[in-house]
């Protein structure tokens, strides 16, 4: 395994910490060191506005001692400080009650990790500052070039790059090194509308390799188009109607499903999906995979947070719940096989039509392009979410909508899923396409 990118000093921190924890009598210890570097620039209205740069080194210890468990993290890596920190860690766990279910995953679960190149680390060196500045300028220029006759209040654009490397060592022999890079570029456009309203919308692009970013111009153009679509917003009449939720917004709905599949939520019965394994929880149009091996995927990984080898699996198969998000602790607690406590890339199997096709099928209804606040009650599945979007008339996007809200229950909503689009997000670990629902409660005036 390549550990070349981890500085030797940081590797020694991990090794020393592991051996010191053992010599202090820990039953088991998991140590991780992570180094990250990040740089971002933001420009506004033709001028550079912000440059930020950070270097971060952290040490994380998961300590198992006399059937007691704690998680400890520090950025103070001076040797004496680490010793004091470990001492404190042992004091803290000593004050807890025993929980024999806490343990490391063990070698059997570490084995079998993919040897594929997941393409998580850009082979090229980080972008130079000049190149970041060139990109933010290009984003803004493209946005302004697409303004047509609208009154632009301000345009902001940004580019960021982050590189990180990590080394994980467990007292039962697990050892894994990883490297990652991620780049983002974004644009936000504020326009002047009537009544002193200044609607804003934005566009984001992200990738693990710079060659996979969109041209910066595409980001600016998309942000301006989106902002223009926010002009002249008016309210909508209350009623039930078909609704298309655009990919970038649909992420929030799928996130709410995933929250309800997590071990802590299930164990504490704070989940509306308790006892639903093997049952229908959505219409047949919903198939959702957890795929850790997507090349260049922003959530791709060889091992999960506990060190378990990551394998692709299906969480929801044509509407039937087939998988839960169980780390080893909650799996033991619930008497089930462990999978992973979190999703890597959430891949919702796309359909065949694009957003335009989905709108066409709707005829008259609502297109949701973003959510404004609101929440989901994970225990009951009841939700009420503010929406940003547009009316759909005769199958195409019509005037912008403000002050509207979607409400209902997630089981009912996903039961009303009638089509997934062919436009999954690639710039996020949530590879979710646009979703078309029928018969959704919309509140307006």
């Amino acid at each position: 395994m390549r550990t070349s990118r981890i500085p030797a000093s940081l590797r020694r921190v991990a090794e020393r910490t592991l051996s010191e924890a053992s010599s202090r009598g820990a039953d088991a210890t998991a140590v991780a060191v992570k180094r990250s570097w990040q740089r971002s620039v933001e420009a506004r209205d033709g001028n550079l506005d912000e440059i930020e740069e950070s270097i971060s080194n952290t040490l994380t210890i998961r300590l198992f001692h006399h059937e007691r468990y704690g998680v400890f993290q520090t950025s103070d890596l001076r040797p004496a400080a680490i010793s004091r920190f470990l001492e404190r860690a042992f004091d803290v766990v000593a004050a807890l009650e025993a929980d024999p279910l806490r343990a490391l995953p063990g070698p059997a679960l570490y084995r079998g990790a993919t040897r594929l190149d997941l393409e998580l680390q850009d082979p090229l060196p980080p972008l130079e500052l000049d190149e970041l500045l060139r990109r933010v300028a290009a984003i803004e220029q493209a946005a302004r070039g697409a303004a047509e006759r609208v009154d632009v209040a301000t345009v902001a654009s940004g580019v960021s790059e982050r590189r990180s490397c990590a080394l994980r060592l467990h007292s039962d022999g697990f050892r894994a090194a990883s490297e990652a890079s991620v780049l983002h570029q974004w644009c936000s456009v504020t326009l002047r509308d009537t009544e002193e309203r200044r609607p804003l919308d934005h566009a984001v692009d992200g990738a693990t390799w710079r060659d996979r970013l969109e041209p910066p111009e595409a980001v600016g153009l998309r942000a301006m188009r989106r902002a223009r679509q926010r002009l002249g917003a008016s309210s909508l009449a209350t009623g039930r109607m078909p609704v298309v939720v655009e990919a970038r917004a649909a992420v929030r709905l799928v996130d709410a499903l995933l929250d309800a599949l997590s071990g802590p939520a299930l164990a504490q019965r704070r989940s509306f999906l308790v006892g639903r394994l093997g049952q229908r929880v959505a219409s047949g149009h919903l198939t959702l995979h957890d795929d850790p091996h997507v090349p260049g995927g922003l959530g791709s990984r060889r091992h999960d947070a506990e060190g378990m080898a990551a394998h692709p699996r299906t969480l929801i198969d044509h509407g039937v719940l087939t998988g839960l998000l169980l780390d080893t602790y909650h799996a033991r607690k619930l008497g089930q096989a462990p999978s992973s406590g979190s999703v890597s890339n959430a891949v919702l199997v796309p359909g065949s039509r694009d957003l335009g096709g989905l709108l066409c099928a709707v005829g008259e209804g609502l297109l949701v392009t973003g959510f404004l606040g609101g929440n989901v009650n994970a225990t009951t599945g009841d939700f009420s979410l503010g929406v940003v979007g547009s009316e759909v008339r005769e199958g195409v996007v019509s005037s912008a909508v403000a002050g509207a809200n979607l409400s209902g229950n997630l089981l009912e909503l996903f039961g009303h899923l009638v089509e997934a689009g062919n436009d999954p997000l690639r710039t996020s670990a949530m590879r979710i396409p646009s979703l078309r629902f029928c018969d959704v409660q919309v509140s307006g005036t």
């Binding site: 309210s235 209350t238 704070r270 009951t380």
Partner: protein, 479 residues
Amino acid sequence: MTTGAFADGFEVGPAVMRRTLARALGSGGEWGEIYLERRESTNVSLEEGRVTRASHVVERGAGVRAVAGGRYGYASTEDLSPRALLGAAEAASRVSGPGGAGSGPPPRSRPRVFRTAPVADLSPVSEPFEAAPMARRVDLVTALDVRVRALEPRVTHVTVSLGDELSEVAIARSDGRVVEDRRPRVGLRVTCVGQDGTRREQATVGYGARVGAEALSSALVERLSARLVEQLRALFEARRPPAGEFPVVLDAGSSGILLHEAIGHGLEADFNRKGTSIFAGRMNSVIASPDVTLIDTGLIPNQHGALNVDDEGEPGAATVLVERGVLRSYLHDGISAAHYGVVPTGSARRESFRHPPFPRMRCTCLQAGPRPRDEIIRSVRRGLLASAFGNGQVQIGAGDFSFYVRLGWWIEDGRLAYPVKDVNLIGNGPRVLAAIDLVGDDLRVDDGTWTCGKAGQSVPVGMGMPTVRVPALTIGGVS
């Protein structure tokens, strides 16, 4: 923490500070600062009646900022060696280098001598958490679990999470001012799930303040348990309210989330300077009904949003934002104050040394009015009383905001008819402010664990509000 020597605990001396600031401003920067922070936090959590999980986090580092022509360069490091600090300063200085803000005017000041400015302690603590035994924390969360179960037999699961932290900061500015501050904070959340027949409901209460372990009293256990159980009982009876536009009465206390979203963010000066706020260019004009006087304050002792000194080293303060409906001030940091030619308002805040400061709210309070609460409720023929809140969000440019009501009451003919739950309320900030027509005499400052997110940074805040009536808001219910 002031032990005499400047920035003592950080082992960074004045000579290194001077060199770091000189390097940060070396290519034309006008002013800046070094922000040193050490934060230590401990969390214990209980489920199934047992405290079986704890975490402890230490963060220590520095952020160096250089400001030129209203722009900034910012760099942070967790390594406080002179070499790392100078490296951070070099990175921050690029904001004014080639391709940056150009060669600005000569620096206003370079620190020759650092002078430590006094900082008032608004949040004195008699029993600091760092000296409190772990058993103190374990006992409190256990007592909460026991009390909640004793009060309500339908409770099946209780989870309690108690976090305490101490942030110690030292700020050295390019004008030579140095401040040091200690910022304690505690956050406690109690959640229970109850089962009644086939119906399962979840209730949550929180307590957040700048206090020490002395606050972990049996009175606190009693108060939070009673509130939690009262909430759960109402949730078992609650329905979803109707959908559409109705009058809404906002209960005293955490209803302040309405002000936070509807107006507070829009008055943060950076949004106005950049032209993205709906309140841009409206200083001294009428933006709300004459019943609205709004203050943002860091001066309430031990409050979650209390601030002895802000994150640019300006003293804690209270700011009148709206006086009888007239916009009087934005919330400023150093950059926006210079832009508008006003004095900073002590509201520059940051999440940690990893982040640059921006104008942020502290504790945002609507001043009390003349009406008794009962009278306000009686005035509504058909509408909603909003009591327990979750989260909120605003689009500062369009002014549209929403906030989530976890529990409230449906009002029929001026009386509370039945509890309602899980409903999002939507409105437009300026329109709602202009429309507030009844303001209660019962101002209450909430003691919840509110945090506010902006530009990826989260800071603790507070809110206060009397009972208020808004004639029409969109209720995200079901018809």
